[in-house]
């Protein structure tokens, strides 16, 4: 099993243009797509989906939202909400000593009636924070803060929306053209709250441009990060680690407040956000990451609550911000899984094991992605899943097709080789003999007839032998002209019989041989297939036939089979006259091919003294 896998792996590497190239191209394509933002949308979707599916964290009681809803507006009978109403709300809340109040309502212009009352509140109450809009887009109007508010009591509410219009990031500071830095509403509120708790906000340690809330450093999001292929550094930005759960914050209405339904405990020491929560006003942002009735839309004031909550939770509870791997690690993760896909598609043959492997792989990628989100790490899921599935599932079909085709071709090639070998070593040799003797005019009518009959018979024999082998491909038999040997016997014994058979043939040069130095020793056959054994037999037959035909004047023939200098092999050496060119030809090609399949070598050389040495050797254990 192990060996088989190793073999397939090795073949995969040898045939890299089939196995690695398409898989590698898939990986390259996906990496390219992600690099240039082609997968952002999908990655965001999965990110939101995972965030939404996290276990609930429970309500954050440090934050209270006073949401002025449609009913409240109906009751007031006017919109925008008049200054006096807002001043009253703030005054009422202040009785219960909140830590800080964020007024998430634009008040760049006074809304009659009650401007003086509200201005009074703004001027005297240090824990009231107002809002402004700073980053004017081409078509958006910049909204100023209330004039009466001191500068340090203002935060901006600009949202950093993604390409799909959804909110995932929180802008904490921004900078104007003059280099003046402005904080966001959530930042101002969180700082005020944490200061009252004695928790400091300090510059970051790992990233000097970032900051620490208590002991937790905020990871700055910029450039190429997470699922983002490109982000402007328009200030200090973090991902929003939305507070999970169905009701993350307590929300009360204006009516609740007026009718005394609000407990003073909800307000004491809390961050109170006052904002509009009416569908008619359309203060919405898009987010899929929050579990709610209408997950696509959340009110602006809720988004602010999430942003504040993650900052104060970091400072007070050490809750993590969402972090991402540096991009090289992300791409390493993606490429690695692409590699796993290739190996799965190439190595695993059994369809069930393959499906199982595919399932396990998908489970691991998705599981890791989700598991990491739960501990506030965003790792790539979509591109990883993409390369794994395309390579593991898609390319498998391609691999299978290629492998099937190849094994059919191999089969065909081996039949052609077998047939040619048999013809070459049998009838073709007889024919060559016949031709030679007819040139020499030694041919009598009788001997011609006899030889022709022999030729006829040996061709018929080949047909029969091929039929036998074709009908019973498992049969481990070596057949030559006159022999039929069982390849199940020890190979060196089979080879010795092949040798004996060839030497009995009437080849012209054999008659001059005086001494044969022969040694057939045991060969390691563990790694030899029947086909290879057959090939080795053919090689010996061919080499000996060559001596018989070409080694004129040979007196000494050496045939060795067994261990040779750490390798093993078959070697035929003669001392006759021989020129190499005479002996090149089909036989040599066969031998080269055989040597390649044995991962060994084939050498034929003229010896310094006289004669030719012909050797086939390969690695093997004793």
């Amino acid at each position: 099993m192990y060996n088989q896998l190793r073999q397939r792996l090795r073949r995969g590497i040898e045939r890299w243009e089939i196995s690695l190239l398409p898989g590698g191209m898939t990986i390259a394509l996906v990496v390219f797509l992600r690099w240039f933002g082609g997968l952002q949308g999908l990655e965001w979707m999965v990110f939101d989906r995972f965030l939404r599916s996290r276990p609930p964290e429970g309500m954050d009681r440090r934050i209270l939202i006073v949401g002025i809803n449609e009913q409240d507006i109906q009751q007031l009978g006017t919109y925008p909400v008049p200054d006096r109403e807002l001043a009253a709300v703030i005054r009422q809340l202040q009785q219960w000593k909140p830590a800080v109040i964020g007024l998430d309502v634009f008040r760049d212009q006074p809304v009659p009636i009650g401007a003086t009352e509200l201005n009074q509140v703004f001027k005297t109450q240090k824990n009231v924070i107002g809002i402004e809009k700073r980053l004017g887009m081409a078509d958006a109007v910049v909204v100023n803060a209330p004039i009466a508010l001191p500068r340090e009591q203002v935060g901006f509410v600009d949202a950093a929306l993604d390409g799909d219009g959804a909110l995932r990031r929180s802008l904490l500071f921004t900078e104007d053209a003059q280099g003046v830095v402005y904080p966001s509403l959530s930042m101002v509120l969180a700082e005020s709250y944490l200061n009252q708790k004695g928790i400091e906000i300090q510059p970051g340690i790992r990233d000097l441009d970032s900051m620490r809330f208590g002991s937790v450093e905020l990871p700055r999001i910029h450039g190429r990060m997470g699922g983002y292929s490109h982000l402007d550094a328009n200030g200090l930005v973090s991902l929003i680690n939305f507070r999970s759960g169905h009701r993350p914050f307590r929300v009360v209405s204006l009516r609740d407040l007026k009718s005394g339904k609000v407990s003073p405990d909800w307000v004491r020491d809390a961050v109170v956000l006052v904002g509009i929560m009416s569908p008619a006003v359309r203060d919405y942002v898009n987010s899929q990451a929050i579990e709610s009735e209408n997950p696509a839309l959340i009110y602006g004031v809720e988004a602010q609550a999430h942003a504040v909550s993650q900052l104060i939770s970091a400072g007070e509870n050490g809750r993590s911000f969402i972090q991402v791997w540096a991009w090289p690690w992300e791409y390493l993760w993606i490429v690695s899984w692409g590699g796993v896909g290739i190996v799965l598609g190439w190595v695993v043959r059994s369809p069930w094991k393959w499906l199982l492997g595919l399932g396990i792989g998908v489970g691991m990628i998705v599981g890791a992605g989700y598991g990491m989100i739960v501990v506030a790490w965003w790792i790539p899921v979509v591109p990883t899943l993409g390369v794994f599935l395309i390579n593991g599932a898609g390319l498998t079909a391609f691999y299978r097709y290629d492998q099937g085709l190849r094994s059919r071709l191999q089969e065909r090639q081996s039949i052609i080789d077998e047939t040619f070998n048999a013809i070459h070593n049998g009838p073709l040799q007889s024919l060559a003999m016949l031709r030679r003797s007819s040139k020499d005019d030694r041919l009598t009518r009788e001997s011609l007839l006899e030889q022709l009959e022999g030729l006829d018979q040996s061709i018929r024999n080949i047909y029969e032998a091929m039929m036998r082998e074709a009908l019973n491909p498992e049969a481990s038999v070596y057949t030559s002209d006159r022999l039929r040997l069982n390849l199940g016997e020890p190979l060196h014994e089979v080879l010795q019989q092949v040798y004996g058979d060839v030497l009995e043939r009437e080849l012209p040069c054999f008659s001059s041989i005086k001494v044969k130095v022969v040694n057939f020793e045991v060969l390691d056959e563990k790694l030899l297939t029947v086909e290879l054994k057959r090939g080795i037999c053919r090689f010996l037959e061919e080499a000996l036939c060559n001596v018989g035909k070409h080694a004129i004047g040979v007196t000494r023939l050496e045939v060795r089979c067994g261990q040779m200098e750490g390798r093993q092999g078959v070697c035929v050496v003669d001392n006759g006259q021989g020129v190499l060119t005479e002996r090149e030809g089909m036989g040599t090609q066969q031998a080269r091919r055989l040597a390649k399949r044995l991962r060994g070598r084939f050498e034929r050389s003229v010896r310094a003294s006289k004669g030719v040495s012909c050797e086939l050797s390969w690695k093997g254990r004793r």
Binding site: Q496, K514, V515
Partner: protein, 216 residues
């Protein structure tokens, strides 16, 4: 001479009887044992540690099996691996099938003679005698002319060109003296030189080797 043991392995009761009778008459002081299957044969060799075995090629593996030459060949292979010094006489009508294990025979260090079943009883007894002397005899049809191992050629050269004795040869080619003696048996078989009353076998060997051009 102490009593020596002969084991005859043959599945034909008649042949077995004939052979043992002849052997008994010839070697009055021998202890004779018989086996009828390959399995029995192996067991007997283990227990008896015989000086010589006479074996038929065609035999059943176990009692009740069909007799096959393959079983005999397999048994011979086994015996030659396990007892490389045992003297063996192969008595068979299928001498040609021994070609398969020629390499094993070439490596066997005990006496090894082959007696065709068509031979007279006297000739058969000679083959047993030879085997016990460590002689090697294989019929000509089993051989491809002069077929030597490289070591055997060395022995010839050292003995007849350099005039070394067995002990000297053994030292030169780094083997035991008894291995050199066993090489001589092999060489003599190749050169068709066998024990002959009143003739010096080494001189015969030298003569034949010169005839064949194995030494200058």
């Amino acid at each position: 001479m102490s009593k020596f043991r002969i084991l005859v392995i043959d599945d034909h009761a008649m042949v077995l009887g004939g052979t043992t009778t002849a052997l008994k008459t010839h070697y009055s002081d021998a202890e004779l044992h018989t086996a009828q299957t390959a399995q029995q044969g192996l067991e007997q060799i283990k227990v008896l540690n015989p000086d010589v075995i006479v074996i038929d090629l065609s035999m059943p593996e176990k009692t009740g099996d069909i007799a096959k030459v393959d079983h005999g060949i397999q048994l011979l292979r086994q015996i030659m691996t396990d007892y490389p010094n045992l003297n063996i006489v192969v008595q068979s009508a299928h001498v040609k099938s021994l070609v398969r294990i020629k390499s094993a025979i070439a490596g066997h260090e005990g006496g090894f003679t082959i007696a065709d079943k068509g031979l007279s009883m006297q000739e058969m007894l000679t083959k047993v005698d030879w085997a016990m002397q460590g002689v090697v005899f294989t019929p000509k049809e089993m051989r491809n002319g002069i077929e030597m191992k490289a070591e055997w050629l060395d022995v010839l050269r050292l003995a007849f060109e350099e005039g070394l004795q067995d002990k000297g040869i053994a030292e030169r080619i780094n083997v035991a003296e008894r291995t050199v003696r066993h090489y001589w048996s092999k060489i003599q078989d190749v050169l068709d030189v066998y024990p002959d009353e009143g003739k010096n076998i080494r001189i015969q060997t030298e003569k034949r080797a010169r005839e064949e051009g194995l030494i200058d």
